[in-house]
């Protein structure tokens, strides 16, 4: 038995080391901007215990590489493996938003929000989709609620300000942009709006 266990343990250790090596290599290649190569080394992990993570990471790397359709496919496969994954849902919104598939991105963001009501990433991605859909009233309401939950965050205030500006509510937009500047002094968009509208 001891004779058998030793080779099995060695095999396990070798496999674990190989996996760790593949992950590490992938991160190194990503840091070097070699996204396709970084994705390539993950193929060896496709059937391992972290296959859904490998797929999500492949999706991320494909997104970084500008291969948006491939990224969508990877994230969808990750979701098939782990339908509960909120990270895969948030992840897939990235290539979808890059392709201006606003409704599809919003659908996945809403699925995350249905599971985790105030998931910050999902809400910001949904705001981007709402902006793409030019749903100014919905975006204003949504950004206002997000700003209440994340009062120190400038992003929600930027989206609220943009929505109010598109709705022609100069005073409300100016107020929101001032809140942006309080959180992010010198923020270019807020400063430009306030300068242009005489509210600087």
């Amino acid at each position: 038995m001891k004779r058998l266990a030793t080779p099995l343990l060695a095999l396990f250790c070798l496999t674990a080391q190989a996996d760790e090596g593949a992950w590490q290599k992938s991160y190194v290649l990503e840091a070097a901007g070699k996204y396709a190569d970084a994705e390539g080394v993950l193929n060896a992990l496709a059937n391992g215990p972290d296959a859904d993570f490998a797929l999500m990471r492949s999706g991320w790397l494909a997104y970084r590489d500008g291969s948006y359709n491939e990224a969508v496919t990877h994230y969808q496969r990750a979701l098939e493996r782990n339908p509960k994954s909120l990270e895969a849902r948030n992840g897939i919104t990235l290539p979808l938003l890059a392709q201006q598939r606003w409704r599809e991105a919003a659908m996945y963001a809403r699925q995350t929000i249905a599971e985790s009501a105030w998931d910050y990433t999902a809400h910001v991605r949904l705001l981007v989709a709402e902006e793409g859909l030019r749903d100014w009233r919905g975006m204003a309401e949504h950004a206002k609620h997000l700003a209440e939950r994340y009062p120190a965050d400038a992003t929600a205030w930027v989206y609220l300000a943009r929505a109010q500006a598109w709705l022609g509510n100069v005073r409300e937009a100016g107020n929101a942009y001032r809140r942006v500047l309080a959180r992010y002094p010198g923020q270019a968009e807020a400063a430009a709006y306030l300068a242009k509208n005489g509210a600087g």
Binding site: G66, W102, R103, R137, W166
Partner: protein
């Protein structure tokens, strides 16, 4: 019917509006249109009225379907026959976003079927099939499409049409200009006012306004140059199934966003025509209303 069924101009708004309402997997919308036109100087035509409904729905950004039904009454004079007409329009589209392109490709197929009481049958039982491939850049600064249409008429006539189109956005998206060539080749000149081909150019300009007290979202100007006969209009979703030659025209319009996905388009214009058989040049002055809602 000549320009009278061009009154489905709102179709364009509806087809494009699929990207501008609250998100959901399906985004249905319903539109109603009405138009009235009075002919000036025509020996055979007095006026027309038209109304119709258009139902459209898009599935995410993957594709969509549009179905339209329009009824038109043409009041004639000079012994000509009054025409009552129903036109059915169906359109399907699928979108693709290849990574090699910084924009969206769309393949579209339109089908038209027209039924009326024309006893000569020259304008009755018309069918048309019209595929189109288009590209719109993500930054909305460039648009191209190539459309083809094949129309089948009774009494030995078919019509082939090509409509190469370019569009471009200007002034940071506040202006949109569309230029479309109209190359139309009827198979039988004897059924087409002696024309074996017509050539025309259409220009459309839309200007989006900043928030204003009148709540006007955008204003439109359209201009037609050259000649068209038996035109199948991909924007209007209509077929001009009367034989008269359109010889230019213009229209002006404004669109209001009424909130809750509702919009209103009002348009007025004038088209010039020629009935070569009678050597009769005449004009059509028309007004058009389009109301649509999305949910």
């Amino acid at each position: 019917m000549t320009r009278l069924v061009r009154t489905t101009l709102g179709m364009t708004s509806l087809l494009l509006a699929g990207t501008a309402c609250a998100a959901g997997e399906w985004s249905p919308s319903l539109g109603a249109q009405a138009a009235y036109g009075a002919y000036s100087g025509s020996q055979l035509r007095d006026s027309f009225s038209s109304y119709g409904l258009i139902l459209s729905s898009d599935y995410l950004e993957k594709g969509g379907l549009t179905l339209g039904l329009n009824h038109t009454d043409l009041a004639a004079k000079g012994g000509a026959q009054n025409i009552r007409q129903n036109a059915l329009f169906a359109s399907g589209r699928i979108h693709a976003t290849p990574d090699k392109l910084a924009g969206r490709l769309t393949a579209r197929l339109d089908l038209h079927a027209i039924d009326n009481n024309d006893t000569s049958r020259d304008s009755d039982s018309v069918t048309a099939i019209a595929p189109q491939v288009s590209y719109l850049s993500f930054d909305k600064k460039h648009y191209y499409d190539l459309g083809y249409a094949h129309s089948s008429y009774k009494n030995a006539l078919s019509v082939n049409q090509w409509t190469p189109t370019v569009g471009f956005g200007l002034n940071e998206g506040t202006d949109w200009v569309l230029l479309r060539g109209w190359l139309i080749d009827p198979s039988n000149a004897a059924r087409a006012q002696g024309k074996s081909s017509t050539r025309g150019l259409e220009a459309k300009w839309t200007h989006w306004l900043a928030a204003n007290a009148a709540r006007v979202d955008n204003v439109k100007l359209g201009l037609n140059l050259g000649e068209r006969i038996y035109a199948v209009d991909p924007d209007a979703g209509s077929v001009a199934n009367l034989a008269d030659i359109q010889r230019g025209g213009f229209n002006l319009g404004a669109e209001w966003k009424l909130g809750q996905g509702m919009s209103l388009l009002a348009l007025a214009g004038q088209d010039r025509f020629r009935n070569a058989t009678l050597a009769n040049d005449y004009r059509l002055n028309y007004a058009y209303l389009w109301v649509s809602g999305q949910w």
